[in-house]
């Protein structure tokens, strides 16, 4: 009896519960949006959750700030280059891991993931010293350059991409490769004309999530850049640590940082969890 009663009241209770839970999830983000839409005067006194008149100045002054424009451009360039580079290299690597009988390849496969799991704080100092002192000797400039961050982000994004793509490439029947080889195709043609079209959805998801990870990264961007290659996340942090507390503009900057994340939520929602658990969990 009890069992049946529970089921009957189920949907309504669930909807009420999840509405409350969703409000809790959304509230911090909504509050940030509210702050971004208010002038300094409106922010004084008791906090009001309503937005009486949209104060566009926070967004306009942020968007017209040359520093912000540079941070934004850097972030877009770095995240996009990193996503393209990582996806391309991971496709080659996973193809090799999937189709060739390379000695020790499973060990290599597992080793790659340790690069992603290590605490980043541990690598701050050696990378900082390598970038500022050691690699400079060899006439390579990586400190405060976009290429420096693009290459570095490969260290944690490549393992992710390889682990995600492994299943995709393994899932493409080997017979298709064989058939193409019989028809006289070379390895490169097989890769670009057989594997690539079939792996496209998987590559897209990998690329999108890689892009977000690169976009969201803060710690390395903050320590390995000084002026020229600063990204949007470091810009956001500077609002608190350097320029003081212009809350409205900080909130506007944070909202703008968030936009790509919202797009990703729409594009690759189903794959976010698999991405964050190294492919251990498939939804």
């Amino acid at each position: 009896m009890r069992h049946f009663r529970r089921k009957a009241s189920g949907p309504l209770v669930a909807i009420v519960f999840w509405t409350v839970a969703s409000l809790i999830t959304l509230f911090p983000v909504y509050w940030m949006f509210a702050v971004s839409a208010k002038s300094r005067v409106q922010l004084f006194g008791s906090p009001s959750f309503l937005i009486s008149s949209f104060f566009t100045e926070n967004y306009l002054s942020t968007l017209s700030d040359p520093a912000f424009q540079r941070y934004m451009t850097n972030s877009i360039v770095i995240a996009t280059s990193n996503a393209l580079l990582v996806t391309a290299l991971a496709l080659l690597a996973t193809y090799a891991l999937s189709r060739y009988k390379l000695p020790g390849k499973e060990n290599l496969f597992f080793w790659t993931i340790t690069n992603r799991m290590a605490p980043p704080a541990v690598f701050l100092l050696p990378l900082f010293l390598l970038y500022t002192q050691v690699f400079v000797v060899a006439d390579v400039k990586l400190f405060d350059t976009k290429i420096g961050l693009i290459l570095l982000y490969c260290v944690f994004n490549l393992p992710f991409a390889i682990w995600t793509l492994r299943g995709v490439i393994d899932g493409i029947p080997k017979e298709l490769d064989e058939a193409a080889f019989v028809d006289g195709a070379n390895t490169w043609q097989v890769l670009t004309q057989v594997i690539l079209p079939l792996a496209k959805p998987g590559l897209a998801v990998t690329g999108i999530l890689t892009w977000v990870f690169a976009w969201n990264e803060y710690l390395f961007a903050a320590t390995l850049t000084s002026v020229n290659a600063r990204t949007i996340t470091t810009g956001l942090a500077e609002f608190v640590t350097v320029t003081g507390t212009n809350w409205g503009r900080m909130a506007a900057t944070a909202m703008l940082t968030l936009v790509p994340a919202l797009l990703v939520l729409g594009l690759a929602q189903r794959h976010i969890v698999a991405g964050l658990t190294f492919g251990a969990v498939k939804e």
Partner: protein, 293 residues
Amino acid sequence: MRSNSVGWLFLAPTLLILFIFGVVPFLYVLVIGFTQWNSFAANPDMQFAGVENFRRLVFDDQFLYSLWLTLKFAFFAVVSEIVLGYFLAQLFMRDFPGKGFFRTIHTLPLVIAPIAVGATWRLLTVPGLGPLPYYLNRWFGYDFNISRYIDQAFFTTVVMDVWHWTPLVTLTLLAALSSLPKEPFEQAQIDGANRFQIFWHITLPLLKPAILATVFIRMMDALRTVDEVWMLTGGGPGAATRYIGLHIWRVVFPKTDYGYGSAMSLITLYLTIVMCWMLYAGLVARRELKRVD
């Protein structure tokens, strides 16, 4: 037909990048850890110091305090996330209208940059602006100020982490729950088992691998949390939320104590690995023992 050298050629760029930016820094920090190197010292050059740095670490109160804080933070955050996440996953197991919509909202925190999460929570909690201090004071007369009170600062970082990462636990456990076989549950119901018995003897053992994997991944992440906390409290008040990543940063950059900071990094890396291994082995072993009983 296909020679292995082509395979190695395809792997080469990946391995080269991982070597230069992953292995070389590790080897470098390994070397620096055994030296005395501080630009502010009387002799600012790198000089070999043996295990001196590691000896100093054992008696370094600030370092040990930071380690303790990090463990405490990881413990509270991960335990709350697993319990809450399991509960939410169970609620997602039923069908109801709008489920997909609620799930999308629930996934939102996962894609937000940690630094933006910190910014969000700072706006919520900063005195004079945030609604949390204002309403806690007005409704309950509670003085909420995370830039003054140590415990409040600590638990705010925990709550922030729970807000940010519980969705991951919910969705991983939901995936695991959905893939469980139906027969054991039906059989148990026929045998007259109550809800708790079903949970304890059937759901939990079947979910063990998924829970272990989730705890493992969350633990790794919680132990290295930096961005959100840096943005929310800056490690303060005092050293109340100066978790190990923040502490290493302080030793390495403002103090430029390279040798000592490297030793600290190495110990942290070592402890993280040992912690996770112990956690894994411990949880597995306890279960195995129980089965023998």
